[in-house]
């Protein structure tokens, strides 16, 4: 790499993980800059993981005030009104995260993420958004894609016992270890081309493999409903279920897909359980942390391009949802 060595303090602190990903990857991590938006439980888990891992900086954006919902699965915020009154979610999480690792710069940026310009996103290597509308996801993703440097973009959301991660690494080159014909370990270079969020979700459903996770479709139905109704993510309740089921029917018809592909029971769970489930936050936040570490270090196969987990069946599945020509 650039020859800059890890300090003695870093080597001692990161000893166990350097043994997993090497000193080189650790150096890259310490120079990486990460932006997160939407400080709920899953993102809190992710932030903990990435601060412990020793990234260079972490910037938090979330101007919302603390609600009972936000407290329910976020261990970064003490449930004490004297502490949280008058502060934003990002400020509160920032204070806790700073303690986890004095070598990482954790800071807060105020404002509406969708109004930030390209030069803002240019400061980062990784951008992660959570609990935001489909519109915002597309918008931020496009802003990242327009930059001359490659900024990796992720979305992450957990509802009920389910979680979803979307990854856009654009054109991504990385190395991985393989065994050569003589069974000797060697390093090979690989290249992947990722579609944008917009491109992915525009792939006609009938063109997708038959066994694509039902969760993929269910999440799109909920997303469409919230967008059509002008709701914020999670602003949904049991009263909306009939309308959600009606929308599902319409979408399935428009996509010429059998309705049974999206079980009503699953949609019901997603509508009802808008609150995050802490074990799923830990799992999704862990997988996302791992993926971000891979993307920064350029080592190991990254997931392409969706990940789904449902505690009901316990499967953590990767789905590649790309237009045929990508």
């Amino acid at each position: 790499m650039d020859g800059e060595e890890l300090t003695e303090q870093e080597t001692a602190l990161y000893d166990r993980q350097i043994r997993v990903w090497g000193a080189d990857a650790q150096r890259r991590l310490s120079k990486s800059h990460i932006l997160v938006y939407g400080m709920k439980g899953t993102v809190a888990e992710f932030c903990k993981n990435i601060v412990l891992a020793g990234v260079g900086s972490l910037t938090l954006v979330d101007d919302r005030a603390v609600t009972e919902d936000a407290l329910s699965s976020n261990f970064l915020i003490p449930p004490n009104e004297n502490v949280y009154a008058g502060k934003t979610l990002a400020e509160l999480c920032c204070n806790s995260l700073k303690e986890f690792n004095p070598m990482v710069r954790v800071s807060v940026e105020k404002g509406d993420l969708s109004r930030f310009g390209g030069d803002f996103f240019d400061k980062f290597d990784i951008v992660i958004v959570s609990c935001c509308t489909r519109m915002t996801k597309k918008l931020i993703n496009e802003k990242c894609r327009k930059l001359s440097k490659r900024v990796a973009f992720y979305t992450v959301d957990c509802r009920d016992y389910c979680g979803e991660i979307f990854v856009d690494l654009q054109k991504y080159i990385y190395t991985k270890k393989k065994l050569d014909e003589n069974n000797q370990p060697t390093t090979v270079e690989c290249e992947l081309q990722y579609p944008s969020f917009q491109e992915s979700i525009s792939v006609p459903w009938r063109k997708l493999p038959r066994r694509v996770s039902k969760l993929y479709f269910a999440m799109r139905v909920i997303e469409s409903f919230e967008e059509a109704e002008g709701r914020n993510p999670g602003e949904i309740s049991m009263e909306d279920l009939p309308a959600v089921l009606k929308l599902k029917k319409e979408l399935c018809e428009a996509q010429s897909m059998n309705e049974s592909h999206i079980p009503n029971a699953l949609l019901e769970r997603l509508v009802m359980g808008k609150r995050e489930f802490p074990p799923v936050c830990a799992i999704i936040g862990g997988i996302l942390g791992q993926e971000v570490i891979k993307a920064i270090s350029g080592k190991g196969d990254p997931l392409q391009n969706f990940f789904f987990f449902d505690a009901m069946d316990g499967k953590g599945v990767i789905e590649d949802i790309s237009p045929p020509n990508v």
Binding site: E5, L6, E8, T11, A12, L13, Y14, D15, R16, Q17, I18, R19, V20, W21, A23, G41, E45, K48, N49, L52, A53, G54, S73, F75, I77, P78, P79, N80, E99, F100, P102, K177, L179, P185, G273, R275, F277, P278, P279, V280, C281, A282, I283, G286, I287, G289, Q290, I293, G300, D301, L303, F309, A311, M312, G314, K315, G316, V317, I318, E319
Partner: protein
């Protein structure tokens, strides 16, 4: 599993967590967030700096404090109204008996060693409390559920043998860096700084040759007229020069091997040692012995650098010097500790010089420390994922949702598109002596093997019992306990030295022995079969225990001998203190959804199994010692364990 959220079953549950380390910190947090109100947590460890990269409840200022206590305080900050009861204690303490375990609805393990895992498994079986077991290494992890009578217990399947190396590979024909590390740590370091009375094969070659120039005097004793540097150079020349010359004289050994080259300190480092930065006197002045460091003294900065032969020689001589200058009182009582900087420096240098002699690539201190200390690779993310999976299984256990219990593998590379792969739990193994009380049979030479051999190798090492009672019919042959009469103790001590057939109640072929551990509430019946001869290479213990589980398949590496091939359970069960890094490959074709487990293959190596499902039963932390196994025809025939 209609609802997992804050249900009444979760709120009312009383859970026991064993371990507050990498998995433990994540687990305690996730339990608290998930609505658990009454959590008890046992951990005997205190916090270390290298924990802080993943054990996020701990800070620099907590180093040295109890993990269980600090973890409790940290979680109460965000969940002040729940009850967390910490125990800074060993789970094997007699206080944690079956009665203690019975008060819990479920037990969750985040442990770092096999011995404790086996112990908790037995207590859970005896108390009839379901156990959720877990382990991680690097990006790999595993969570399993063990419910008595419904799923297999933790010990239903064989655990792999510890990594062992034939003594001759270590003492005379190393071919890998790890062999040099074992030599430096278990032989040279132990000889110079450890218990002088311990048996040690370091000199096996030269003493066999009985033409030692020192004429019977102990080469490793410092002479009265010698200064430390002279002493260091004499040791150096003896082990890296003279011993190699002696070994070379045996032409037979080198027929098909590269001949090593003797190394003498005067050739590598002609002048006196000089210090670039600091000196011995300065190091002596410090009160904190752990801060004494050759690297600091010699101005070597980066532990990732691979030192040259000359640098290794300087580190060797300097660290030996520092041991005598500033830690003389400890000499004779030291055992290798991966957190002892000076010990790591000495072992790195010694291993590298030996590697240079044998044409093996040299390694950095960082790498050498990892090998010598058997440091487990650990990251926060895997622990977080595994903790989430544990809580999901724990909630199913509380809801008695048996049909949905799953064991889950966290994979590094997706298999069938899955990174998290759930598998239905296996049924209990009918021949498991732990959960199915199935009798065992032991082939042993009853005229040669002593009761002590039986206690050490079978009862303690293989059966994993801490406080055993051994009975033949109604006659007590041996017992461990605090409240024994003196004459009983004398009686048992005498029995230990007797061969089985000469015990007060003669143990011969056809005898049924009963071995019981009162704390674990485990009783095993062992049918004794007398056998005259044992294969010294394959059955070095001189006994073969069977009827429990089948031994793992064969070894992969010629240089790595698994203890006791050929049907002995000794292969299956690591001995005490043995860290498990168990990677069982299940081949692609294996029916993973079936409830009957097929015999998996075992790989001793953690790398390159990426496309296969890996069963790992691993640890987040902990130490290990390598076992050296005598295999050379010319060496004494016995198994030896070196610290």
């Amino acid at each position: 599993m209609a609802s997992l959220h804050h249900s009444s079953a979760v709120k009312a549950a009383k859970v026991l967590m064993v371990g507050a380390g990498g998995i433990g910190c994540e687990l305690l947090k996730t339990l608290a967030l998930s609505g658990f109100q009454d959590i008890h947590i046992i951990d005997m460890d205190t916090i270390e700096v290298s924990n802080l990269n993943r054990q996020f409840l701990f800070r620099q200022s907590h180093v040295g404090q109890s993990k269980a206590m600090v973890a409790r305080d940290a979680v109460l900050r965000f969940r002040p109204n729940i009850s967390i009861t910490p125990y800074h204690a060993n789970v094997k303490d007699s206080d944690f008996n079956v009665e203690f375990f019975k008060q819990f609805n479920v037990v969750l393990n985040g442990l770092d060693n096999l011995e404790a895992r086996r112990h908790v498994n037995r207590l859970c079986l005896a108390a009839e409390v379901p156990l959720v077991e877990s382990g991680t290494t690097g990006f790999l992890g595993q969570v399993t559920v063990h419910a008595k009578g419904k799923t297999e217990c933790y010990e239903c399947q064989p655990k792999p043998a510890p990594k062992t190396y034939p003594v001759c590979t270590i003492t005379s024909t190393p071919s890998k860096f790890v062999h040099c590390i074992v030599w430096a740590k278990d032989l040279l370091f132990a000889k110079l700084f450890g218990d002088k009375n311990q048996e040690n094969d370091l000199n096996v070659r030269s003493s066999d040759a009985s033409n030692s120039p020192e004429n019977g005097e102990d080469v490793f004793e410092r002479r009265d007229n010698e200064n430390i540097e002279q002493y260091g150079r004499r040791i150096y020349d003896h082990v890296f020069g003279y011993n190699i010359e002696v070994a070379l004289s045996n032409q037979e050994t080198w027929k098909n091997r590269n001949r090593p080259k003797p190394i003498y300190s005067r050739d590598v480092l002609p002048g006196k040692l000089n210090h670039q930065n600091g000196n011995v006197d300065k190091s002596c002045a410090t009160d904190d012995l752990s801060s004494v460091s050759t690297m600091a003294s010699l101005g070597l900065k980066n532990p990732q650098d691979v030192w040259s032969l000359a640098e290794n020689t300087r580190v060797f001589l300097e660290s030996l010097k520092l041991f005598f200058a500033s830690r003389e009182k400890e000499i004779g009582n030291l055992s290798f500790d991966k957190d002892d900087q000076l010990a790591v420096e000495f072992v790195t240098a010694a291993a590298n010089i030996r590697a240079a002699s044998f044409g093996i690539p040299l390694h950095s201190l960082f790498e050498a420390k990892g090998i010598a200390g058997n440091i487990v690779h650990a990251v926060a993310t895997t622990n977080a994922v595994v903790a989430g999976l544990i809580v999901i299984e724990a909630i199913k256990v509380l809801k008695k949702d048996i049909d949905n219990y799953r064991m889950t593998y966290c994979l590094e590379h997706p298999s069938k598109k899955m990174l998290l792969m759930p598998v239905e739990p296996f049924e209990p193994n009918k021949s498991c002596c732990v959960c199915s009380k199935s009798p065992l049979s032991l082939e042993i030479n009853t005229h040669h093997s002593k009761l002590r051999d039986f206690v050490e190798k079978i009862v303690k090492a293989e059966l994993g019992m801490n406080s055993p009672i051994i009975m033949h019919g109604v006659t007590l042959l041996y017992e461990v306990g605090d409240d024994l009469e003196e004459d009983m103790i004398a009686n048992y001590t005498a029995n230990l030295e007797k061969v089985l057939s000469e015990l007060p109640s003669s143990v011969i072929g056809g005898t049924m022995l009963t071995v019981e551990d009162l704390q674990q509430e485990l009783t095993c019946n062992i049918y004794i079969k007398h056998r005259e001869e044992f294969d010294e290479e394959k059955e070095p213990d001189g006994m073969v225990l069977s009827g429990w589980t089948q031994a793992p398949l064969e070894k992969k590496d010629d240089n790595k001998k698994l203890v006791g091939n050929g049907g002995s359970t000794s292969t299956a069960l690591p001995t005490e203190g043995q860290k498990e890094v168990e990677l069982v490959e299940i081949s692609e074709e294996t029916e993973i959804s079936g409830k009957k487990r097929k015999q998996p293959g075992i790989s001793g190596d953690e790398t390159n199994n990426h496309n296969e499902i890996q069963k790992l039963d691993v640890v987040d932390d902990g130490e290990d010692d390598l076992v050296i196994l005598d295999q050379c025809d010319i060496d004494k025939k016995k198994k030896k364990r070196l610290q």
